[in-house]
């Protein structure tokens, strides 16, 4: 373990700062996110039929990964940080899965 009076320089520079995106890249990512959001909202106004909901889920996941990867720097930071986040996320997804199972079970029982 080490201790330093200039902690930010010592810790974060070593980890990832050399690979940080430029402001232009951040703006490009924001443009992509804006386009994806527009596509999401268009599903409300246009009839996408049976692909609407799968499309929304895919767009949600892509937006999530873009923000986490680029804005939260998971693409450039230590993988340990990503593991911490995704552990919580997958545990939470377990809750979603349980909720859906309960809904389906409940519907089947009533029917």
């Amino acid at each position: 373990m080490s201790s330093t009076d200039a902690p930010e320089q010592a810790s974060s520079t070593d980890e990832h700062d050399d690979h940080h995106p430029t402001p232009r890249q951040y703006v490009n990512i924001a443009v992509v996110l804006a386009v994806l959001t527009a596509l999401e909202v268009s599903t409300y106004f246009l009839d996408f039929g049976v692909i609407a909901i799968p499309l929304l889920v895919i767009l949600m996941v892509v937006k999530f990964l873009y923000v986490a990867g680029w804005f939260m720097h998971l693409k450039f930071d230590s993988r340990v940080f990503g593991r911490m986040m995704y552990t919580g996320l997958f545990l939470a997804l377990g809750l979603y899965a349980l909720a859906i199972i309960v809904i389906l079970f409940d519907s089947a029982t009533i029917a």
């Binding site: 409300y44 937006k63 986490a68 804005f71 911490m84 809750l95």
Partner: protein, 197 residues
């Protein structure tokens, strides 16, 4: 002098590791409320349901929150370059967008209550207000943290070399943003489209 910052045995800044652990646990927090919302989606007790949502309005506030992530990351970038003046500018822009989002949420809640969707109206209403209300509280806390960074940098308590402090607030802010990405799709768009079909 700021206290020395220990790194973990993996060579990682323990503050960042702590923040990521906290954010990981926050998925469980919000996951529970989203699950409750999905479970109670149809239990409107004769009151208003998802058809009450104003998708165009919520889309705009969602877009504002999404773009606040851009200004937040630009604030961190400016701080990493040692440019505190620009960092403060982007911090203010981020907090402003957060305030616009919160104002939109307060307006939306007022409209819903006037149309009969009170928090005690039905299990659907309760789960909706608890989920989106807790998210709004997170945005509010984020705005307080942003303004703290702004003031502390003005009075010299945050120095140009201490950009991890801005990064930590940024991580929290981006997290609040990605939770809304999920809420906007799962709570607003998908149920609304399912009703239209």
């Amino acid at each position: 002098m700021a206290a020395g910052v220990e790194t973990t045995t993996m060579g990682l800044d323990h503050r960042k590791l702590g923040m990521w652990t906290f954010l990981g646990s926050e998925f469980l927090f919000f996951g529970a409320f989203v699950s409750a919302y999905l479970l109670y989606l149809d239990t409107t007790a004769g009151g208003p349901g998802v058809e009450i949502f104003d998708i165009p309005f919520t889309s705009i506030s969602s877009f504002v929150l999404l773009m606040s992530s851009l200004t937040m990351v630009l604030a961190h970038h400016a701080h990493a370059q040692g440019d505190l003046r620009r960092m403060r500018l982007w911090i203010l822009a981020t907090a402003g967008q957060g305030a616009v989002f919160l104002g939109g949420q307060v307006f939306e809640f007022n409209v819903f209550v006037r149309e009969g969707l009170t928090i005690s109206e039905s299990p659907f209403a309760s789960s909706f207000y608890v989920l989106t209300g807790f998210h709004g509280m997170h945005v509010f806390v984020g705005i307080l943290l942003l303004m703290s960074v702004y003031v502390l940098s003005l009075i010299g308590k945050i120095k140009p070399t201490q950009h991890v402090k801005t990064e930590m607030i940024g991580l929290y802010w981006h997290f609040v943003d990605i939770v809304w990405v999920v809420i906007f799709t799962v709570v607003y768009l998908i149920p609304e489209i399912a009703v239209l079909e």
